[in-house]
Amino acid sequence: MEIFLQQLVNGLVVGSVYALVALGYTMVYGILGLINFAHGDLVMVGAMTALQTMLFLMGAAPGMSPLAMLTLSLAVAIPVCMLLGYTMERLAYRRLRNAPRLAPLITAIGMSFLLQTIAMILWGRNYHTFPQLISTVPLQPVAGVFVTPIQVTIVVGSALIMAALIVLVTKTRLGRAMRATAENHRVAALMGVDTNLIIALTFVIDAALAAVAGVMYASNYGIAHYGMGFMPGLKAFTAAVLGGIGNLGGAMLGGIVLGLVESFGAGYIEHMTFGLLNSSYQDIFAFIILGLVLIFRPTGLLGERVSDRA
């Protein structure tokens, strides 16, 4: 039971991060019908930029409080990612908006590898220790379950961000314009929506989410690496599909569910397969879920879209 609850907590923490990243995939997919493969790598850029800032601050102002340092590093990482997201959209995706659907997809894959390569050039190929500014010492155990302050921060932080995003999309003028553009570019443009601006803003907002998720992800595991974004990116996409792509609530639900499945899967797989498989197979769960969802319920848990958009 204790193991069960512990895995539940771990799953929730990872799931919240997946959910944040999944929101980025789902918003771009909803508005452009594009899987932005490079989104996962924005997560990495966010983490790496934050790491660089922290290292700089540690050298420049050794006595700084961890909270201030975290805030400052986020304040650097978020704009960097936003700028990068905007640049990608402006330079590559916008020009391919009317191209055959294969073209933007291949460009997105290229973007993803380009970002990884640039990160490799800037930060080398080694794993870096990511400063864990929020304590990772467990709090008082409740029912035998250890929860660390960083885990609490991640879950609460991502919940707040998601709530803010929902308000933005459902209640504001910008949100309405986004939904209109997602529904139909041309009609939205005829109604006076600057669709180019809205699409660019979507990319910028997504990039900000990715940056925050990157800092959370790296803080949770305590390491950062040029390739750290790709796999979580794919998993987040899986989460978005699981929830129903193009649906914000779905992305959140999918992220949490995927986090839980992975956490329980890794915890119990050895037991369930009588030692045949072990936790090094953790990464296959996301892909198996993806396959199953696409075969049996292509609209996802909450979505309405069909799967054969080509």
């Binding site: 590559a92 659907r101 291949i106 290229g110 590898f113 045949l276 296959i284 892909f287 396959g291 080509a310």
Partner: protein, 366 residues
Amino acid sequence: MNELASAVPWLGRRNPQAARWLIIIVAIAAPLVAVLFGRTWVRVLDFALLYVMLALGLNLVVGFAGLLDLGYIAFYAVGAYTAAFLASPHFGVHLPFWIVLPVAAGCAALAGIMLGFPVLRLRGDYLAIVTLGFGEIVRIFLNNLNYPVNITNGPQGINALDPLVLFGWDLSRNLDITENLSINSLFLYYYFFLACVAGSIVFIQRLQVSRVGRAWAAMRDDELAAKAIGINTRNLKLLAFSLGATFGGVAGGLFGAFQGFVSPESFSLMESIAVLTMVVFGGMGNVAGAIAGALILSALPEILRHLALPVQQTLFGTVLLDPEVLRMLLLSLAMILMMLLKPAGLIPANARYSHVEHLKRHGVSR
């Protein structure tokens, strides 16, 4: 061959016959020229031919049938590991090459069908990401199937694969003609691979103009319309996946025997992307494009490797970009820039059947 010949710049359109001969001469002379710069370059050519086979196979799936496959390297892995199981000291099995290669191809084809069945309904992006997942699953299994029963030997990979032996003729040994003159094994492999590639080209070109090839083109251009005129898209998709996989499996088997060593590292996602880039860069749906893309993108990083390091050394006094970084940079830029500037690829496929302009140009009334 015609497609390849007409892609030769300048000569192709004026004198296809001469272009054809030029290609044959270049193909035969290439390793003889390469060896002047050192034996490694012959090795590079050998690997380039393996990439050509992979690109041809992937082109079948992506270019002909229009199914974007991001896990193609999984079939290469299946072929290579099958060869490793059947001809290495790992299990102590040493079957002759003429059994190993067909079995490797067959296993890969089976893997292709296994992938194809569940994803029949998917197209476009969803298909891409599911195939990517398939490739990753295969790699994860290769990496971890050394416990509790050692099947793949885990991350260490399998060593000492049997070399290629054709009719008692060992390709890994230098061929001694006289006391002083011997042909290096790298050349023997080159010409054997060249023969395999030539066979593949003939097969694929016949396939392209066959009923199946034309049905693929129809399916690629408009699946609904293809279904409406009675094309069985399900079988065609499975056939595309399994045939493409067969090429991957054959290339994998050759790769294993040539390198004498397989490990999960050779079958990473990066390799899938690299092969896809070759197809896209060369021009999808066209044999000449796949070949050109594969040759350029597998040789260029090697050339850069030999040029860029000394250049950086003299300019900056230190190596800023190591060869692997350069390769990734080149591939990712090739993908992005090609899509932005020349989406049809280096050698655009001439749409023989489907495009209205083409039909008009050739005087076919509608």
